[in-house]
C-alpha cells in the first residue's frame, strides 16, 4: 500500500482543526463550524468544478465536523464521487465518509454499490481491500445482498493477493454474522478450509476466524479442517521463536493464531484419526512443557502471549476430557498460577480450575489445592478473584471436604461483598444439603446462614430446610431445639422467625418436656417477635398459634386472647384479619378431634430436585439474555445476571405461611374442614418457579398435581423449528408430532391428565362432556424461567371435520411468563359422527426462536357416549337388529397390559359405555351399551369384550347403527387393553 508522508496532509484542514481546538468557548466553536459549513456548501454548489484534492479536503472537514458531534446533511454526493477517483487517498476518504456516515436506506446506495463493484473488479489489491472493508464496515443487509455471492469467489480465487484474501475472509465473516442466510454455501467451502495451509499467516488467521464461525452451523462440511488445523498448530508450536518473523510477538510465534486454532479444535470432538490425534497431543504437551521452560524474554508481553496459548490449550484439554495425564498436568500448571504474583493469572487459574474440577480425571488433583483456594477467598483483594475462588470451592466440594468448605464459605459470608452474597448463600445451602452426613449439621448450617446473611436467604432456601425437617423424623427434635435457641437472640432475622414459627408449630411438642422450653415459653418467645414482623410472617405465626392450640391445649386460652385482640380481629390487613377470625372460631367451635385432624402434622413432601438448585441454575442459566441484546429491549430489565431474580411480592406467593392449613379456601369455619392435604404444598415446593400468582392453588392446579404418571418427555428436537418468523395462517400448521397418536390414546378412556410435556412446555387437559357438548380446559405451563412470546394455541379441523365437530376457543394471552400457567377454554359441540380428532397447534417464541408443535386434541367420538342400561333380553334383541355385516366390527388382539378385570371395567366405563351385568352367560366377559350423541343423529352402540387369560388375548366386538363408527370405536378401544 502506498505510504504517504504526513507532509501530504491537507493544509486547509489542519488550519481548520487547529482553529477549532483554539476556540475558547462552545459558541465560538459553533460559529467557526457554521462558517466552514457555509464555505463548503458554497464550494460544492459553485459553478467551478472541484478537483479531487479539494473535494477530498472538504469531505474530510465534513467528516471531522460530524465526528465532533454535529449533524451533516450534505456532501454525500461528493463523497460518492471520490469513490471513483483513481487516487488512493481520495478513494480512501470517500470510503471512510461512506462507512461512517451513510445509512443503509440512502438513495445513494446504488451509486455506492456500483463503485464498490468496480473496485472489486479492478484487480488493484488496494482498491479491492478498501471496497471489502467498506462492505464489512457498513455490513448492512443491502450490501450483503449485493455482494455476498462475489466475496467467496474473491476469497478462493487463485490470483487474489494475500491482503485481499484476508480482507475477503473477514468481510465474509462479518456478512455471515449479520445475515447468515445471504451467504451461500457451496463448493467454495471446501477451498476455504484449505486456506489453513496458506503461506501467509494473515490469511490463515482470517480464515480460522471464518471457519470457526461457519463450522458451528455445519460441522460436517468443515470436518476436514481438523487435521489441517492440527498440522498448522504443530508447525507453529514447534517453530523457533524467530521463524515467523512478522508474526512473532515478543519471541512467541503467532500467539493469536495459535489461540484461534485451539479454539477451532474445540468445535469438534477429539480427532478420530490416531495419527492426527497423536500429533495434537504432542502439540498440547509441547505447550505445557514450554510453560515450564525459562522465559525467552523478561518482558511481560512475552509471558502474557505464552500464557494466552497455555490457557487455550487447557481449555481444549478440558473440552476433550479424555486424557487423564494432560488433565492432571494442566491442573498442576494452574496450581502454580494460583500463587503467582499477577492477579490476572490467579483469576484465570481459578476460573480454569473450576472447569477442571468437574472432570472425573482431575477432580482429585484439583482438590489438593483446597488450602490455597481457601486462602485466596480470605486474602484476595479483588472481589472478582474472590468470587472465582468461591466458585472453585463449590466445584471441588465433595463428601470428603464439604464440612471444611461450607464452614469456610460461611465465614467468608460475614465479610462477603453484597453483590455476591445471595449466590454464596445458595451455594452453601446446596452443598450443605447435598453432602449432609448428619442432618443436624445441615440444620445448623442453614440456621447459621440465616443468622449471618438473613437478607440474602431467599425463600427457596428456607422452604427447603422446612421440607427436609418435615421429611426426616430423626432431625425434627434437634431442629426444634436449635430454632428455639436461635430465637432467644434479642435480634434475630425475620427469616429465622419464619423458620422458627413453622418448626415449632409442627414439632414444638418434641421439646415441650423441658421446662425451659415449655409451651407457654415457646409461645411467648414467638409472640415477642410478632409485632416486629411483616404481614407475611405474622400470618405464618398465626397459623403456628392455631397449631399450638392443638399441640398444647394449655395454651388455648392465651392464644385465643391474642387472636381475639382488636389488633388482630380488626387488623387492616385482610389476610391477618381473616386468619384471626377463622382460627378463633375454629378453636372455639371445633371439637378436639376435628382440631386434631385439621391441624395434624404436615405429611412428608414428595422428593424432588432441590428448588434451590433450580434457582442457582436459573441465576446462571443459559436463559440469561445477552446484555447487548438486553440493551435493545427494555431498560427496566437491564440488570440481568448482576441482579437478583425478580422476587414476587409476598402477597401473591403461595408460601407455606399463606396457606399453611388450606383454610383460606374454606368459606367459613363451620364448613367441613379442608383436610391438610399435600396439594398446596406440592405447588409451593414444586421445582418450577413458585412465584406466579397464577400458580395459586386453584382446583385445576391441585388436579394437575395429582395426575397419573406424566407423559414421557419428548426430546426438544421434536419441536419443529420453522425459520420464518412471520406468523403463518392458522391452517398452515405442521404435521402432528410422531407420538401424537400415542398421547391421544391415553385420553380415550380418561378426561384429564398431562397431554404433552417437554423441557419448555407442559400441556395439561381437563374436560367434561354431556350429551353432544363438551368443555375442555387446556393448561399451558411454561417450565422455563423465560417468557414465551407470541404464544398462540389454535385448534384446526383437518378435512371435513369442520362439518362434524365445532370447537370454539377462547384466545389466551400472547405472553406466558416463566413458570406461569395459562388456561384456555374450549367449547366443543359434536355435530355428527367423526373419525379424526382435531389438531391443536401451539406456537410461541422462546428466547428468540420460534417453536411450534402440533398435537391431536383428545376429543374422540366416544367422549359423546351416553351410557344406557338395559336388561339382557333387550340387549340381545338389539344385538340381533344390528346384524348387517358392516355394522359389526371385530378385533382379536393380544393384551398389552396385565389382564385385570377391575382395570378393564374402569377402562370400559371411562370409554363411556354402561357395563351390563348378567347379560353374557360367561361372567368373565364384558358387555356394554351406550348411545353416541351428536347434534345430527344418535348412534346406538353395543359392545362385547371377551378376555382369554390363558392366551393373553381379547376379542372385541362392536355393533353400532353406523358402519364407520363401529370400526372406529373398535380400533380406539382395542388400543386400550
Amino acid at each position: 500500500m502506498p505510504a504517504v508522508s504526513k507532509g501530504d496532509g491537507m493544509r486547509g484542514l489542519a488550519v481548520f482543526i487547529s482553529d477549532i481546538r483554539n476556540c475558547k468557548s462552545k459558541e465560538a466553536e459553533i460559529k467557526r463550524i457554521n462558517k466552514e459549513l457555509a464555505n463548503i456548501r458554497s464550494k460544492f454548489k459553485g459553478d467551478k468544478a472541484l478537483d479531487g484534492y479539494s473535494k477530498k479536503k472538504y469531505v474530510c472537514k465534513l467528516l471531522f465536523i460530524f465526528l465532533l458531534g454535529h449533524d451533516i446533511d450534505f456532501g454525500h454526493m461528493e463523497a460518492v464521487n471520490l469513490l471513483s477517483s483513481n487516487k488512493y487517498t481520495e478513494k480512501q476518504i470517500g470510503y471512510l465518509f461512506i462507512s461512517v456516515l451513510v445509512n443503509s436506506n440512502s438513495e445513494l446506495i446504488r451509486l455506492i454499490n456500483n463503485a464498490i463493484k468496480n473496485d472489486l473488479a479492478s484487480r488493484n489489491p488496494t482498491f479491492m481491500c478498501l471496497a471489502l472493508h467498506c462492505i464489512a464496515n457498513v455490513g448492512s443487509r443491502e450490501m450483503g445482498e449485493a455482494f455476498a455471492a462475489d466475496i467467496p469467489r474473491i476469497l478462493v480465487a487463485g490470483d487474489s493477493m494475500d491482503s485481499v484474501k484476508q480482507s475477503a475472509a473477514l468481510c465474509l465473516l462479518r456478512l455471515y454474522k449479520a445475515s447468515p442466510d445471504l451467504v451461500p454455501m457451496g463448493e467454495w467451502t471446501a477451498r476455504v478450509v484449505h486456506l489453513l495451509n496458506d503461506q501467509h499467516m494473515g490469511v490463515v488467521t482470517a480464515a480460522v476466524s471464518l471457519i470457526t464461525c461457519l463450522c458451528k452451523k455445519n460441522p460436517d462440511d468443515f470436518k476436514t479442517c481438523i487435521s489441517l488445523a492440527v498440522s498448522r498448530l504443530s508447525r507453529i508450536v514447534s517453530s523457533a521463536s524467530t521463524d515467523l518473523q512478522d508474526y512473532t510477538y515478543y519471541f512467541v510465534p503467532a500467539p493469536w493464531l495459535s489461540v484461534k486454532l485451539l479454539r477451532l479444535l474445540q468445535c469438534y470432538p477429539p480427532p478420530e484419526d490416531a495419527a492426527v490425534k497423536g500429533r495434537l497431543v504432542e502439540c498440547l504437551e509441547t505447550v505445557l512443557n514450554k510453560a515450564q521452560e525459562p522465559p525467552k524474554s523478561k518482558k511481560v508481553q512475552h509471558s502474557n502471549a505464552k500464557n494466552a496459548i497455555l490457557f487455550e490449550t487447557i481449555s481444549l484439554i478440558i473440552h476433550y476430557d479424555s486424557e487423564p495425564n494432560l488433565l492432571v498436568r494442566a491442573c498442576n500448571q494452574l496450581g502454580q498460577f494460583l500463587q503467582h504474583r499477577e492477579t490476572n493469572l490467579r483469576y484465570l487459574a481459578l476460573e480454569s480450575m473450576c472447569t477442571l474440577a468437574s472432570s472425573e480425571f482431575s477432580h482429585e488433583a484439583v482438590k489438593t489445592h483446597i488450602d490455597t483456594v481457601i486462602n485466596a477467598l480470605k486474602t484476595e483483594r479483588d472481589v472478582s478473584v474472590r468470587q472465582r475462588a468461591a466458585d472453585l470451592l463449590y466445584a471441588m466440594c465433595d463428601r470428603s471436604n464439604a464440612k471444611q468448605i461450607v464452614s469456610e464459605m460461611l465465614r467468608y459470608l460475614e465479610t462477603a461483598d453484597y453483590a455476591i452474597r445471595e449466590e454464596i448463600v445458595l451455594k452453601v445451602a446446596i452443598l450443605a444439603e447435598k453432602y449432609a452426613v448428619d442432618y443436624s449439621w445441615y440444620v445448623d448450617t442453614i440456621l447459621n446462614l440465616i443468622r449471618i446473611a438473613g437478607d440474602y436467604v431467599s425463600e427457596e432456601v428456607w422452604y427447603r430446610v422446612l421440607q427436609i425437617v418435615t421429611n426426616r423424623d430423626d432431625v425434627q427434635g434437634y431442629a426444634a431445639k436449635t430454632v428455639f435457641e436461635a430465637l432467644q437472640a434479642p435480634a434475630c432475622h425475620e427469616n429465622m422467625v419464619k423458620v422458627g414459627g413453622y418448626i415449632l408449630g409442627e414439632f414444638g411438642n418434641l421439646i415441650a418436656g423441658d421446662p425451659r422450653s415449655s409451651p407457654p415459653v415457646q409461645f411467648s418467645l414467638l409472640h415477642s417477635k410478632f409485632h416486629l414482623c411483616s404481614v407475611a410472617t405474622r400470618a405464618l405465626l398465626l397459623s403456628t398459634y392455631i397449631k399450638f392450640i392443638n399441640l398444647f391445649p394449655e395454651t388455648k386460652a392465651t392464644i385465643q386472647g391474642v387472636l381475639r385482640a382488636g389488633s388482630q380481629l380488626r387488623n387492616a390487613d385482610v389476610e391477618l384479619q381473616q386468619r384471626a377470625v377463622e382460627y378463633l372460631t375454629l378453636s372455639s367451635v371445633a371439637s378436639t378431634d376435628v382440631l386434631a385432624t385439621v391441624l395434624e402434622e404436615m405429611p412428608p413432601f414428595p422428593e424432588r430436585e432441590s428448588s434451590i438448585l433450580a434457582k442457582l441454575k436459573r441465576k446462571k442459566g443459559p436463559g440469561a439474555a445477552s446484555a447487548l441484546d438486553d440493551s435493545r429491549r427494555d431498560t427496566s430489565n437491564s440488570d440481568i445476571n448482576g441482579g437478583v431474580e425478580p422476587t414476587p411480592s409476598t402477597v401473591s406467593t403461595p408460601s407455606p405461611s399463606a396457606d399453611l392449613l388450606g383454610l383460606r379456601a374454606a368459606p367459613s369455619p363451620a364448613a367441613p374442614p379442608v383436610p391438610v392435604g399435600g396439594n398446596l404444598l406440592v405447588d409451593v415446593f414444586s421445582d418450577g418457579p413458585t412465584a406466579q400468582p397464577s400458580l395459586g392453588p386453584t382446583p385445576e392446579e391441585a388436579f394437575l398435581s395429582e395426575l397419573e404418571p406424566p407423559a414421557p418427555e419428548s426430546p426438544m428436537a421434536l419441536l419443529a423449528d420453522p425459520a420464518p418468523a412471520a406468523d403463518p395462517g392458522p391452517e398452515d400448521i405442521g404435521p402432528p408430532i410422531p407420538e401424537a397418536d400415542e398421547l391421544l390414546n391415553k385420553f380415550v378412556c380418561k378426561n384429564s391428565g398431562v397431554l404433552f410435556e417437554n423441557q419448555l412446555l407442559q400441556i395439561g387437559v381437563k374436560s367434561e362432556f354431556r350429551q353432544n357438548l363438551g368443555r375442555m380446559y387446556l393448561f399451558y405451563g411454561n417450565k422455563t424461567s423465560v417468557q414465551f412470546q407470541n404464544f398462540s394455541p389454535t385448534v384446526v379441523h383437518p378435512g371435513d371435520l369442520q362439518t362434524q365437530l365445532a370447537v370454539q376457543t377462547k384466545r389466551v394471552a400472547a405472553q406466558v411468563d416463566g413458570g406461569a400457567q395459562v388456561q384456555q377454554v374450549l367449547n366443543i359441540e359434536c355435530l355428527r359422527d367423526f373419525l379424526t380428532p382435531p389438531l391443536l397447534s401451539v406456537r410461541f417464541r422462546y428466547g428468540g426462536t420460534a417453536q411450534s408443535l402440533t398435537l391431536k386434541l383428545p376429543v374422540t367420538i366416544n367422549k359423546f357416549f351416553q351410557p344406557t342400561e338395559m336388561a339382557a333380553q333387550d340387549f340381545f334383541q338389539r344385538w340381533k337388529q344390528l346384524s348387517l355385516p358392516l355394522q359389526e366390527a371385530q378385533k382379536i388382539f393380544k393384551a398389552n397390559h396385565p389382564m385385570d378385570a377391575e382395570v378393564t371395567k374402569a377402562k370400559l366405563l371411562g370409554f363411556g359405555s354402561a357395563l351390563l351385568d348378567n347379560v353374557d352367560p360367561n361372567p368373565e366377559n364384558f358387555v356394554g351399551a351406550g348411545i353416541i350423541q351428536t347434534k345430527a343423529l344418535q348412534v346406538g352402540c353395543l359392545l362385547r369384550l371377551e378376555p382369554n387369560v390363558q392366551a393373553q388375548m381379547y376379542r372385541l366386538t362392536l355393533r353400532t347403527s353406523k358402519e364407520p363408527v363401529s370400526r372406529h370405536l373398535c380400533e380406539l378401544l382395542a388400543q386400550q387393553f
Binding site: A14, C60, S99, M201, N304, F311, T343, G642
Partner: protein
C-alpha cells in the same frame, strides 16, 4: 468473541468506540458510561477482567487512557488482554509515541492508513470481526 472496543479517558469521554454487534446509538452512551465506571473504580491490584452483565470486560490503562474490550464468555482473556497492548504498540509506532494527548489533540491528520509494519499484521488479522484497520482510520480523523 469481541463485542465492542472502546477507548475512554479518565474523565469518561469516549475517544473511540467500535461495536461488532448492533447496539442502538442511544444505548451505547449508557453502556459506555457504565463500562468506564466499572473500570475506573478498580485499583491496580485488581485483575483486568471484570464481569459486566453477561459478558466480560478486559481493560488496560495507559496513563489517562483506558482501552476496554467487551467479549463474551468463552473468549480467551489473556489473548485479548495482550492484543490490547499490541494495538497500543501499533498506535505508538504509527504516531511515534502515542499518548492520550496524541490520541485526542494531535494536530496532524495523517491520511495514509495503509502504513504496514510488523505489529500491524497481528492486529488486522487478529480482530475476529476485523477492521481495526478501519478503526485506525477513524481514529486518525478524530485526533
Amino acid at each position: 468473541m469481541i463485542k465492542f472496543f472502546l477507548m475512554v479517558n479518565k474523565q469518561g469521554q469516549t475517544r473511540l468506540s467500535k461495536y461488532y454487534e448492533h447496539v442502538e446509538i442511544s444505548k451505547r452512551t449508557l453502556l459506555e458510561t457504565e463500562v468506564i465506571k466499572s473500570c475506573l473504580s478498580r485499583s491496580s491490584e485488581q485483575c483486568s477482567f471484570v464481569e459486566y452483565k453477561d459478558f466480560k470486560l478486559i481493560y488496560r490503562q495507559y496513563a489517562a487512557l483506558f482501552i476496554v474490550v467487551g467479549v463474551n464468555d468463552n473468549e480467551n482473556e489473556m489473548a485479548v488482554y495482550e492484543f490490547i497492548h499490541n494495538f497500543v504498540e501499533v498506535l505508538d509506532e504509527y504516531f511515534s509515541r502515542v499518548s492520550e494527548l496524541d490520541v485526542s489533540f494531535s494536530e496532524h491528520l495523517p491520511v495514509a492508513c495503509g502504513k504496514a509494519h510488523s505489529r500491524y499484521n497481528h492486529i488486522s488479522a487478529v480482530t475476529q470481526e476485523g477492521f481495526l484497520y478501519e478503526a485506525l482510520a477513524v481514529l486518525e480523523l478524530t485526533l
